[in-house]
Amino acid sequence: MNHDLSLSSAHVPVLRLGDVLLITLQGDLHDGTAEQLQRDIAEQIVRSPVTGVVIDISGVEIVDSFLGRVLAEIAASSRLLAAQTVVAGMRPAVAITLVELGLSLPGLRTALSTEAALGMLATASPGGPRREPR
């Protein structure tokens, strides 16, 4: 947890592209960073007309139940603020680990890549509640 102070205190940047927020997670996510990120996202959604959140986790190689919970919480809080969350680019190993941990994240929408996620949000009805529950 405290082996790298510079890393653990690093912000995860939240980029806004039109009405979509783009977050790219890299490597480990620490408790403090995750909390900060959740706050940032919620504030951004409230401040600007955001209808979608894309979290790119293609750079995440190791996953634990903590990250799974963070993703689920981001999705839940964004949904309360009328924005859809799409998790993009999960690696096979990460997917297998999550499933083995029993975290199949049922409420979460997923996409193969950031591009696919943006496409998915563009086709979804803007601002509306989530369509096509699978």
Binding site: L98, E100, S104, A111, S113, A116, R134
Partner: protein
């Protein structure tokens, strides 16, 4: 009576046999080289057979001297095990069973016993008998070691083939742009479903597939464990951002699933691979149109 020997060192049968093996090493190795076991393994050069025989005699002598003639884990046997493995494997390739190889190993005993009798002309009949018994026990243990080696060889072969079979029976097929399928054939156990999951997920990434079809036409039976494996695979594919369709559920399997009370509620299922492909194509926005309406079709 071998008085000079008695004076010099004690003569237990074990030490006698050990000394005999050392003394007659060359002769035994020469005779063994003519036995079927060595003759058929070392077909190219007789010298090699003799050399192998010498190594084996040395090992046996070492075992005899330690007195652990009935112990297959004796240090001497460990030394020759590798060589025995090679010889056994070579015989197995000729199609011999473990029993036949073991009989061939037994063929090494008579020459050694004959030489032993010739080597101890002055021993009392009782002592000679004891020595012969000991040598026989030693050769019996060798036979056991050979049998063990060949069995473990067989087990290693089975393990290897099982792994190959597992990999060979889980091909991932690209059916269309963005649609991959795995036809599952044979029983699904946890090891196999792990391989299936991994290969399927890898190909979803490689092909950027939006749909993955799991075809279970070739799965003979579905129980709660298999269903659980399927659910896991479906969940993992979904996490990757693709959609999974399970197809090829035969009527009997559908009934079994219902009777077991398994909930496949979240899984998209189709009865055949064709249906699953049609579903995936439709979801991708592709339409299948039969060409030349009204014209004389090929069928």
């Amino acid at each position: 009576m071998p008085e000079h020997e008695t004076a010099a060192e004690q003569t237990t049968p074990a030490s006698d046999v050990g000394r005999f093996l050392h003394r007659r090493r060359e002769q035994i190795a020469q005779r063994w080289a003519d036995e079927p076991l060595f003759r058929t393994v070392f077909t190219v050069s007789r010298d090699e057979a003799v050399e192998a025989g010498r190594v084996l005699v040395d090992a046996l002598a070492q075992v005899a001297e330690t007195g652990r003639v009935a112990d297959t884990d004796a240090a001497g046997f460990t030394a020759v095990r590798e060589q025995l493995t090679g010889m056994v494997a070579s015989r197995a390739r000729f199609g011999l069973t473990s029993g036949q190889v073991s009989t061939e190993v037994d063929g090494l005993r008579p020459p050694a016993v004959t030489l032993l009798a010739a080597d101890l002309p002055e021993a009392t009949p009782e002592h000679l008998r004891e020595c012969t018994t000991l040598l026989t026990v030693l050769m019996g243990t060798l036979r056991l070691v050979v049998l063990e080696t060949s069995l473990s060889e067989g087990q290693a072969l089975i393990d290897r083939q099982q792994l190959e079979l597992m990999e060979a029976t889980t091909p991932v097929i690209r059916l269309w742009d963005g649609i991959v399928a795995v036809p599952l054939i044979g029983t699904l156990d946890s090891a196999r479903s792990q391989v299936v999951m991994e290969t399927l997920l890898e190909s979803v990434v490689d092909q950027q597939a939006r749909f993955a079809i799991l075809d279970i036409t070739g799965v003979p039976m579905v129980d709660s464990l298999v269903a659980q494996h399927l659910m896991k695979t479906v969940a993992a594919v979904r996490l990757m951002g693709a959609e999974c369709v399970v197809s090829g559920i035969r009527p009997a399997i559908a009934q079994t699933i219902v009777h077991l009370g398994l909930d496949l509620g979240t899984v998209v299922t189709r009865s055949s691979l064709a249906d699953a492909l049609a579903y995936a194509l439709k979801r991708l926005g592709a339409d299948i149109v039969i060409a030349a309406p009204g014209g004389a079709g090929p069928r």
